[in-house]
Symmetry: C2
Subunit: 306 residues, 2 copies
């Protein structure tokens, strides 16, 4: 197993200025592993869903080469459900409904088939649950990637600090990096976060791109400017999925590989936002992905005389 993902598999109901959906497939682990499947990287999910979760969705994941053995189905429970409405700028969204349901008592169980994972990607969950995954691994994966959010900073600071201390790569957004570090400058913020544990800090800035910090080195990329931005849900998870999958593909975690991985993550995320939910991610071919990487290169390459 190249990539083990522990995170939500869920239902979302989304409203954007361009339309709305009923309950559709969502969840961090879903976006992350779908991104992996585009790059043909074997990945597995550890998660929990309720009896209301469609078999067809499980089959879809399985058919894309995703190991779903670790998705526990609690037949008399209900799947995590989130509903939100994006404002006109698409940068801010209001949560309408959060039903934690079976995720409330999520106790991750790592199947034997996933114990040898090279990369462990811990999606945004309670840091106590994230820590428990590390405890349950027979050997520490070569790379531990952590996603988290401001909610856990507000409600589970000490546990979060323990988890961050055992992390190699942390991905958070710019506001969260500022909150976590107490620093306004993202350069200073990244340094402070590195002191908490992770060698690598990735700051996600949505439509403004991303920053990668490692030992005093910085790499910055813009996001691909898109003609159509339809639904930003899952973009951050897709980014993490593209990033981790590229590292898994290369089996190398050096700075230059991380830089390329950032490009892959960003290009992958640019597909997700073009349609509702996981729709686009389920259609994307490797060829389209390669074309988009080339767009990225054109978008950012320059020669400058000094």
């Amino acid at each position: 197993m190249k990539l083990l993902v522990v995170g939500s598999v869920a239902f979302d109901a989304i409203e954007t200025p361009f339309g709305k959906t009923d309950k559709i497939l969502g969840g961090a682990a879903t976006y992350i592993t779908l991104a992996s499947s585009v790059l043909k990287i074997p990945s597995g999910i550890v998660s929990v869903v309720g009896g209301d979760f469609p078999k067809s969705d499980l089959e879809m994941l399985h058919n894309r080469g995703i190991n779903i053995e670790g998705i526990e189905v609690i037949s008399d429970g209900k799947t995590f459900f989130w509903s939100g409405k994006y404002r006109n700028d698409l940068n801010t969204r209001d949560t309408l409904v959060t039903e934690v349901n079976v995720l409330e008592n999520f106790d991750p169980k790592i199947p034997d088939s996933m114990q040898d994972a090279q990369i462990l990607l811990l999606g945004n969950l309670h840091p106590g649950v994230q820590l428990s995954v590390l405890e349950k691994m027979n050997r520490r994966p070569d790379l531990v990637i952590l996603d988290t959010m401001n909610f856990w900073m507000d409600t589970a600071w000490d546990t979060l600090m323990q988890m961050i201390a055992r992390t190699d790569v942390i991905t958070i957004n710019d506001e969260e990096a500022r909150q976590l570090s107490g620093e306004y400058s993202l350069v200073k913020a990244a340094k402070k976060i590195q002191e908490m544990g992770p060698d690598i800090v990735i700051i996600k800035k949505g439509e403004h791109g991303a920053l990668l910090f490692n030992e005093g080195r910085i790499f910055a990329i813009p996001a691909l400017p898109l003609e159509e931005v339809f639904d930003p849900t899952g973009a951050g998870d897709t980014f993490a999925g593209g990033f981790a999958s590229y590292l898994a593909k290369k089996e190398d975690f050096g700075f230059e590989t991380m830089k390329s991985a950032l490009i892959y993550g960003s290009a992958m995320a640019s597909f997700t936002v073009e349609k509702f939910g996981t729709e686009k991610l389920q259609e994307v071919t490797e060829g389209e992905m390669i074309a988009r990487i080339k767009n990225f290169k054109e978008l950012t390459t320059f020669e400058v005389e000094v």
Copy 2:
């Protein structure tokens, strides 16, 4: 004359989370031409100040090779004054005082020594005043660069449209681009703005970098992540100054040159924000500028296998 700048020369009083100033030298034309002087590009200012404007500031500009013949001094008038306070995130600021003073009836007069300008940069002023400058030029400059803001979209739309129609390059921020075009996607916004006149649209995103649009081609750069961000005042004008000065230096307005010019503008702006007002810009050497361009290259260069 390589570069003629028509814009404010003013006083600012600034408060940031890191300190506050009394009235200090400010104004768009000041930042723009100081940026030019770092690159040793001959520039001239057309503006107006009051009798309260210090001779020492005029001398400083003159000593840096800036032609100040076009700065009219109205001895019984007062210089434009703006005072503002930045919030903790430095991205939003509240205006405390705006005293338009002598700028109220600004009637730009173009000295003969500036009539041959290759590049005309029209700083953020009433679009009627900007139009009058074009009328007063004996020959149209090879390149007309326009800066404007949402205030003129709200209060002088028709005149602004006339001005934009006669512009080659427009620089605005992302919110303003959306307001001007009525489009959320910046790619669509840029297309609509190009239809209004300018071949080149530059969208400034502050700490998030900038986008350059020309004939379906897009170039994107992040901003240089800085350890210290002290005072954002004048960053946008410095950016425009660095951009225009690089074009003036190359005497070429092709897309590849524009891309490099964007890097120069962004690097130059990264100095301005490191100290209050124009302080840093007055100290920067060409060597420091070259070092920062190299930082930029490191920050953004990647090789990616597809």
